[in-house]
């Protein structure tokens, strides 16, 4: 339907960050993300976790919060609060690094498949669909069990198994961009493929890619937590997932030791929620229909 928009000159687009800040969920997400990032960087410096500091006797094991241990102790008598703080680093590190791998592969495959179409597209999409359909968690568990448990390997495994969605999204965006007439116009000017991708494709794919990337971070953090919970975490680096693994294995739930299993779970929830909120707000910015009144 024709509305008077034709005559209306919209204001120059504000920066992405400003638009995010304007959205209530986006703002909460941004604040939460900043908060956890600061806590992860500074926290462990102030409260150093000493894995060797085990409890001296039975009374100091699985102890409820006290003044010295504000979140109590674990089944070996170690301080939960300092574990919690250092665990945040591992979650964030794995989440961010795995996302870097995933995004590079996903965006590359997606743009290549969407732009060049034909045989290359067929082959790339067959591989993408294969990894999209194969259940990621059993495969991660299998690979984790085979390749061993250290942080780098976990990052690589999660990164290698979480790109297909990105590839799909980027490809479909690239395909629809190809239909826009400014692409044949650029070609008729004599632009090379590389120039068309650089000048006309990437800037259009970027907003969608950023929104998706943020959601991939959330997914990667959850994947790491699950792997660690299954018992495939890095034994030398305590993470929120491995805290929950030990809490579960030591029967902390049955013994009502809420101070042990609540904090790491809440930590994961908050950080994943933070990224999810930002990603969701980005989606709203990218898709005017979702943004309430358009």
């Amino acid at each position: 339907m024709s509305s008077p928009q034709v005559l209306h000159i919209p204001p120059v687009k504000r920066s992405m960050l400003a638009q995010l800040w304007n959205d209530r969920m986006g703002r909460v997400g941004l604040l939460l993300t900043t908060f956890t990032l600061i806590a992860a960087v500074i926290g462990p410096i102030i409260f150093v976790f000493d894995s060797g500091a085990v409890g001296a006797d039975a009374t100091t094991l699985l102890m409820p919060p006290t003044r010295t241990h504000i979140l109590g102790t674990d089944e070996l008598g170690r301080d939960v609060f300092s574990q919690f703080l250092s665990g945040s680093r591992v979650s964030l590190l794995v989440g961010l690094m795995a996302t870097v791998i995933s995004t590079i592969i996903g965006a590359g495959v997606g743009i290549a498949a969407g732009f060049f179409t034909g045989k290359l597209d067929t082959v790339l999409m067959a591989v993408t669909d294969f990894f999209l359909v194969v259940p990621a968690m059993p495969l991660m568990i299998a690979m984790g069990a085979i390749f061993g448990q250290n942080l780098t390997i976990i990052i690589v495994i999660i990164g290698l198994l979480s790109w297909p969605r990105t590839a799909r999204i980027v490809r479909s965006q690239t395909l629809s961009l190809r239909e826009r007439k400014f692409v044949p116009r650029a070609r008729s000017l004599g632009s090379t493929n590389w120039r068309i991708i650089k000048v006309h494709m990437i800037p259009h794919v970027l907003p969608l890619l950023i929104a998706n990337t943020i959601l991939v971070v959330a997914g990667a953090i959850l994947s790491e937590a699950t792997l660690a919970f299954i018992g495939l975490g890095d034994p030398n680096r305590i993470s929120w997932g491995s805290m929950l693994h030990f809490a579960f294995a030591s029967g902390a739930v049955g013994r009502g030791a809420w101070w042990y299993f609540m904090p790491p779970g809440l930590g994961i929830l908050l950080i994943v929620l933070a990224f999810t909120l930002v990603g969701h707000a980005f989606d709203k910015i990218n898709n005017p229909h979702l943004g309430g009144s358009s």
């Binding site: 024709s2 509305s3 008077p4 034709v6 005559l7 209306h8 000159i9 009144s293």
Partner: protein, 328 residues
């Protein structure tokens, strides 16, 4: 009595402070069995005005003032139930772009039968479908295709389905919003022909909206021209489309310039005139005549004082300070 009587209608997009009056104090009258054309450039408010009649305005658009009287009943602020009983039963709409106006996952027969069933609880599914097939036949589509889906039809055929659907409940008024835009020339002629022939057999009134004045020339009885949210001229088709030397002809400079924007193969081969500049930005306050900035006969009064819509001759309304002395 007129079938439709719209008076002083104002429709605004957006809020009171920052909104835009897309339709600003406009009248529109349609008599029983009359074909009325509504013309103007994109953004002039013609679609908004038409959609305000059965209150199918998009979210964010509100009728600020004025009234819509249909068949003697004031429906301006009617409840959703009242409107639903009038929609399609009394007033149906042929929407712009038939590809998107048809539901892709329902058969065309079902879609034509649906409003009949919604408005007549006594009708059986079977009878409704049978009537749907009759209607398809009437618009030149084989009855056997009633179980086909919209994507299986060409653009022109979908528009025929849309027309059949609009006629389903034998409405008194059909609003056709740019029904032939984006169709091929020959298909346009076919569709207009169909509309003309059906109008007599179905005894309906038609509001035909088009940006293309030439389309309205031999389809409509009366034509109303809108510019920047205002009605600037309305009159019989004979008057509006009369050649310049006749005693009565289009009197608003905008209408005249618009008419000269089309090549006329009956005349000498000259370059069309067009209109310089662009329509005003309605989000800014308007003073004087809205066409003043583009008018070649502008006087100082045009920039300061808004012309009223006056009746130049019987049933010929013009909103121009110099309507009587405009030269063509």
């Amino acid at each position: 009595m007129n079938l439709l009587d719209v008076r002083n209608l104002c429709v605004r997009y957006g809020s009171e402070q920052t909104g835009v009056l897309a339709v600003d104090t406009v009248d529109l009258r349609i008599g029983q069995g009359e074909f009325v054309g509504l013309a103007g450039e994109s953004g002039c408010g013609k679609t908004t005005l038409a959609m305000a009649i059965p209150n199918l305005l998009p979210e964010g658009a509100t009728v600020v003032s004025g009234s819509v009287t249909f068949d003697g009943q004031d429906i301006t602020h009617a409840s959703e139930e009242t409107l639903n009983s009038i929609r399609w039963k009394e007033i149906s709409v042929i929407f712009q772009g038939a590809l998107n106006a048809l539901n892709p996952v329902k058969s065309v027969g079902w879609q034509i039968a649906e409003p009949m069933l919604a408005h007549d609880s006594g009708l059986s599914d079977k009878d409704a479908l049978a009537r749907a097939r009759e209607l398809l036949d009437a618009v030149g589509i084989s009855k056997s295709r009633s179980s086909a889906y919209p994507h299986e039809f060409s653009g022109g055929m979908r528009q025929r389905v849309m027309i059949a659907m609009a006629l389903a409940c034998k409405p008194k008024l059909v609003i056709a919003d740019e029904p032939i835009t984006a169709l091929d020339v020959m298909t346009q002629a076919q569709i207009l022909d169909l509309l003309r022939s059906l109008s007599s057999s179905f005894d309906l009134s038609l509001l035909l909206i088009s940006h293309d004045l030439s389309v309205l020339a031999d389809t409509c009885d009366r034509v109303q021209v809108m510019y920047a949210g205002k009605a600037v001229e309305s009159g019989s088709a004979e008057t509006i489309f009369a050649s310049a030397d006749s005693s009565e002809s289009a009197a608003h400079p905008y209408t005249n310039r618009l008419l000269k924007s089309y090549p006329n193969i009956l005349h000498e081969r000259v370059f069309i005139d067009g209109i310089p500049g662009y329509p005003p930005d309605l989000s800014l306050p308007q003073t004087g005549c809205r066409f003043a900035a583009r008018c070649d006969q502008v006087q100082s009064v045009c920039r300061t004082q808004e012309p009223a819509l006056i009746e130049l001759h019987t049933n010929h309304f013009v909103a121009c300070h110099f309507a009587e002395q405009v030269s063509r």
